[in-house]
Symmetry: C2
Subunit: 306 residues, 2 copies
């Protein structure tokens, strides 16, 4: 299986600990505790200034406890030496420079940060970001409108008023390469950098399989009709804010395109030879998503076939 | 591809019409309009009493408009003759027997009803039920607590207060057969009918791929460790209330089980010969889910292999 960044289950979620507040409090202050910090969806990475290229993430130990009264705490799980792994979401008002951890690092925009993280850190940061963003947008009960509380170590919200339970969303998104003969279809949205093309994609709706959703999006966005059996390749959690990307290849019946310009700016067929040069970074006009994105791996998988 | 009930995209969702209120109002009163009725999550099916075995669904024409001021209206799409297809969700207080459509049918519990529906009706009813149940549990804005309004022909809710947009949930669930050598693992929950066994399953969490989530659930529930590459088979929308079932087969490293009794009552290994007799309905003790359920098709796919 191709290894796709962000997923990969680098830590044991040890979900049985989520209900045990005493255990969680002790684990958080254990000398082997590992704590990542996040603010406004940005992880704390090593260095003095943001935007200076790939850097590792800052992991705090039990000294993170001194920040925890101001922060939301999430128990991520146990690492491969059974050390407890947590994330703290610092409030907007948190002033890094005036804090006890001034000088340890800098909060970096998430997409930029991910490029510098190893598999463990990327999986932990992606999970934490997705959960924290969900808490930010879900402080109230959708069922009754009352304020809700965080429970189960950060993995759930509960409504005292009506009793409803709320779990973080994970929204399945079909992302697919339409192919015919020896060509594949890439599209681009208005506002993307010049020459940047990627796979078409869209949310799976209630009542659809992956394959239904992928075929519908291809029809809606580019006017192409899927035939035969869709091929599932791999999936990827994508924490912007809570997508689960489902990578697929679908054969379509014709090269004729009808572009829905409210969805994409354009779409264009590329030969396999061109796809290879795009992946190699040697295409004259076109470049593709970086290895962080599942679209990169979908295009690569197809380009490398004979 | 094995055909799995409930999905299959039997109608064109024609999502470009969702924003056009005038078109929707006209289409709803078109003479070729097709309207299914639902109440408390139950579709209206032909017959005088519920619980009397499989029956087709009742489709109303434009006369459904006389019910629409009491009901939520959902535009499902266009059928293969381009006739507009709608669903109405009737309020709890709606009294069928005292209504203008008394005698046309009966509201039937969804799982029982589905067994009697053809592919088109099952896909339409499953989609409508999932959306309507979501509306029932999501009348308020999770971001600010204000009441929200239904927009886009039933496919979205909007908050006038904070501007947040809310889309129906589709919750990915891994449902998988653990296999080793020529045996497969089925489990059962306390409270299921005697002898009923099925695949293990659980929700995908933020930060997980399908394969991560499936492996975690197998470990949590039965103590078995997945090895090698998970095999994706097919997916199914499951409207109870909004799951998207992801059918997989995973090889595991040992027959040893450690059951988490808070999740399942027990789990047990079956030989392929036994799996075949379960599918044939001739096993002495054990029976499996009906063809409506994706678990049936997962077990069948594996049982029929050489």
């Amino acid at each position: 299986m191709t290894s796709i960044p962000l997923g990969g289950a680098s830590f044991d979620r040890a979900a049985h600990h989520r209900l045990d507040e005493d255990w969680l409090d002790r684990a958080f202050q254990n000398e082997d505790a590992r704590v990542l910090l996040m603010k406004d969806g940005m992880p704390l990475v090593v260095g003095g200034q943001s935007g200076h290229g790939p850097r590792p993430m800052v992991w705090l130990g039990p000294q993170a406890a001194m920040l925890s009264d101001k922060a939301k705490r999430l128990f991520l799980g146990l690492d491969d030496r059974d050390a407890p792994v947590f994330a703290l979401d610092l409030p907007k008002r948190f002033n890094l420079d005036a804090s006890p951890i001034a000088g340890l690092g800098v909060f970096e925009e998430m997409r930029a940060a991910l490029g510098g993280l190893d598999a463990f850190d990327a999986n932990a940061a992606a999970t934490a970001r997705s959960i924290f963003e969900w808490h930010h947008r879900n402080g109230y009960c959708a069922n009754c409108g009352a304020k809700t509380d965080i429970v189960e170590a950060g993995w759930k919200r509960e409504c005292d008023n009506c009793g409803a339970e709320h779990f973080p969303r994970t929204d399945p998104v079909a992302i697919m390469l339409a192919v015919k003969d020896d060509q594949c279809l890439l599209g681009r949205q208005a506002g993307w950098p010049d020459g940047f093309f990627s796979c078409l994609a869209g949310f799976i709706e209630p009542g659809e399989t992956f394959e239904d959703g992928a075929a519908r999006e291809l029809k809606e966005e580019a006017g192409v009709v899927a035939i035969g059996e869709a091929e599932y390749l791999f999936s990827q959690p994508w924490p912007f804010p809570s997508s689960l990307m489902i990578g697929m290849i679908l054969e379509v019946e014709s090269f004729d395109l009808v572009i829905d310009e409210s969805e994409i700016e354009t779409a264009r067929w590329f030969t396999r030879e061109e796809a290879r040069s795009i992946m190699a970074g040697t295409h004259d006009e076109v470049f593709a998503p970086p290895p962080m994105a599942i679209a990169h791996h979908i295009l690569k998988a197809w380009a490398e076939r004979d």
